[in-house]
């Protein structure tokens, strides 16, 4: 009989979401870095998308890796 699959914890999904969104933001930050005319927002010289996207990826990966084998009983 096929063993019933256990539910993944919410933290696993939080990890996927933060990583995926982080990648999109990081890539748009790289595009903006290469061509500063893309965005002329206040403090754009700090390239917030670049480092904030990176922070999101790191946070996402921590959640993802810490919960990759976890399940809810």
């Amino acid at each position: 009989m096929e063993q019933e699959k256990k539910m993944k914890p919410i933290w696993y999904f939080v990890g996927i979401m933060l990583s995926a969104m982080g990648v999109v933001i990081l890539v748009s930050g790289i595009v903006n870095y290469a061509d500063p005319q893309v965005s002329t927002t206040v403090l754009s010289e700090l390239h917030p998308a670049l480092w904030w996207g990176g922070i999101m990826i790191v946070a996402g990966l921590i959640f993802l890796l810490a919960n990759r084998k976890a399940s809810v009983d």
């Binding site: 699959k5 539910m7 914890p9 919410i10 999904f13 939080v14 996927i16 979401m17 933060l18 995926a20 969104m21 999109v24 933001i25 890539v27 748009s28 930050g29 595009v31 903006n32 893309v38 965005s39 927002t41 206040v42 403090l43 754009s44 700090l46 917030p48 998308a49 904030w52 996207g53 999101m56 946070a59 809810v72 009983d73």
Partner: protein, 558 residues
């Protein structure tokens, strides 16, 4: 104002969010097998999951926009909503009320009223809560469509129907389980999506001290940066309220009424896997609640500084000659966020709106199914039928919310009633709950008439001031008062009337036998045993730490 333009990366972030929440709904459907799974998320959540969902159910986008705007309008007194206006009540719920709620295995707050008092009190509160929930849900939906239309230029009908259909899909599929999952997703989106506004605002202005200093220079006679030192005289603070109104109206009645009895938030604690986790739920949430002002208050103060600096080029929107305070946060997102991050900021607001609606609908479907449908219309309904009814209630509830949203569009002034609604329903209910849990001689009939008198008086006082039948100063005990101050005081009077009427009628009406009140009333319920639980896993130490942090914050910003 010109709409905020979204780039491809922004649309991709928004699409990721929609795909994600729908995917979660489909994924969780296979784990939603019975009514317990649908209405109580299987009662298997840890205190962290339940705690973050408990907080997030309250952390809607309307609140984020409104509180940032309120900080612009009233100053730092808005932080009272997050500190004295929340933390003591959350701790009280965790330490003292949760054992009665959780141990009686009820599925809803009105369910407790049925056990402690009788069916009619349960139905009265069930109907009031259901109506309140649908009104709040509909107004939220309207507000979301309005924000998206104003700032992004999106079509009003399209944005409302797409978000309503998405919420309907995932809540119908897996009930409270998916509502809780999306609330936690929303929690992270709000922090990652909006906290950066505070960081960039601090960088632009110089420092947090500089922000406070410049706000103080702007408001020399009225304090916008303190919490208590100017509360002795209402003319000295932006909210125009005294410490008495803050402590009695907000800190005691409105706060305890909302955090300890509003089923929208308490339902999250019911989903915890055991009593310890249920008691820890609001206590853990209290730490995160205390942190929210670092987004909303700070952002509001940053907006004040920038709006008064002609070189910044920043100003709030004007609607028909009046300042639109709620525009502060979206305009700061537009000011600082480049492509990609704009999508994240918009998604954080969208998630706040949608998770807030899912929270309201999941609470509504439970109260409708158990406290109105099963209690009055179909007492012999089977478990399968109740599960089906919960799903139907979700769809009908969403449709009624959409109807309310169209109503709100026709009569935008009903937005003004949002805060007032809580003082009609929650404030008197807190008196009923408090007496019910801690005084054994309170009778069912006294509780019913007390609750009705409290709700009726709060509603009547609202109308009386609104249509100038009486002078508002009678309620606020001050000739100077804001709308917020009037809400705080009206809540206090509604609570007091319910409290007094319930006590006064009890000696003349029939009590329930003590044996029927075991597990429901203090004195007839065994004390919570913490034997075998390590001290660092008990709720009490965390409650003490939370209160100490609260005291430190209040003294620091005194």
């Amino acid at each position: 104002m010109q709409s905020i333009q979204l780039a491809f990366s922004d649309w991709l972030i928004i699409a990721l969010y929609f795909g994600f929440v729908l995917g979660i709904g489909v994924y969780l459907k296979r784990f939603t097998k019975n009514e317990n799974d649908f209405f109580l998320a299987g009662r298997k959540n840890s205190s962290w999951v339940a705690g973050l969902a408990f907080l997030s159910a309250n952390l809607g986008a309307l609140e984020l926009l409104g509180m940032t705007g309120n900080t612009f309008k009233y100053g730092m007194y808005v932080a009272h909503f997050y500190w004295i206006g929340a933390i003591p009540a959350m701790i009280f719920l965790g330490l003292y009320m949760m054992p009665f709620y959780y141990s009686s295995k009820i599925k809803s707050v009105p369910g407790y009223l049925k056990l402690r008092f009788d069916e009619k009190t349960r139905v009265l509160n069930g109907i009031a809560f259901a109506v309140m929930t649908l009104l709040v849900s509909g107004i939220n939906l309207y507000a979301m469509a309005l924000v998206l239309h104003t700032f992004l230029g999106w079509d009003w009908n399209v944005s409302m129907w797409i978000s309503a259909a998405t919420v309907a899909a995932y809540v119908t599929l897996s009930g409270l389980l998916s509502a809780i999952f999306t609330e936690i997703i929303q929690f992270f989106l709000i922090w990652f999506g909006l906290f950066l506004v505070s960081i960039l605002g601090i960088i632009e202005i110089g420092s947090v001290n500089e922000i406070f200093q410049r706000v103080n220079e702007l408001y020399k006679t009225v304090s916008y940066t303190t919490l208590w030192s100017s509360s002795g005289d209402p003319s000295l603070n932006g909210m125009m309220i005294t410490w008495g109104g803050i402590v009695l109206g907000l800190g005691f009645v409105l706060s305890f009424g909302y955090w300890t009895t509003d089923f929208l938030v308490v339902q999250r604690a019911f989903s915890a896997k055991d009593l310890r986790a249920a008691r820890m739920t609001p206590i853990l949430a209290s730490f995160f609640k205390m942190a929210v002002p670092f987004i909303v208050i700070l952002t509001g103060l940053i907006a004040i500084v920038l709006a008064n600096d002609t070189k910044s080029g920043f100003s709030l929107m004007q609607d028909g000659g009046q300042v639109n305070y709620d525009s502060a946060l979206p305009l700061l997102i537009a000011r600082y966020y480049p492509p990609g991050l704009v999508g994240l900021g918009v998604t954080a607001l969208l998630a706040g709106f949608m998770a807030g609606q899912a929270g309201n609908i999941s609470a509504f479907n439970t109260v409708w199914t158990y406290d109105i449908y099963q209690s009055v219309l179909n007492k012999k309904a089977s478990e399968e039928h109740l599960l089906w009814m919960g799903r139907m209630a979700t769809i009908v509830g969403i449709l009624l919310s959409v109807g309310t949203a169209y109503w709100a569009k026709s009569f935008p002034s009903i937005m003004d009633y949002m805060q007032a609604i809580f003082s009609w329903v929650n404030a008197p209910l807190f008196a009923t709950m408090l007496l019910g849990m801690f005084v054994r001689w309170i009778t069912p009939n006294a509780a019913f008439w007390g609750l009705l008198a409290g709700m009726g008086s709060s509603f009547t006082l609202f109308l009386a001031v609104k249509f100038n039948w009486i002078d508002g100063a009678i309620i606020t005990m001050s000739s100077v008062a804001s709308d917020q101050a009037a809400n705080f005081w009206r809540a206090w009077w509604a609570w007091l009337i319910c409290f007094v009427v319930t006590i006064a009628l009890s000696p003349f009406t029939k009590r329930k036998p003590d044996e029927e009140l075991v597990g429901l009333v203090k004195g007839l319920t065994p004390a919570v045993s913490s034997q075998g639980i390590a001290w660092y896993r008990k709720p009490e130490p965390y409650a003490v730490i939370s209160i100490v942090v609260l005291i430190i914050l209040n003294i620091y910003f005194w």
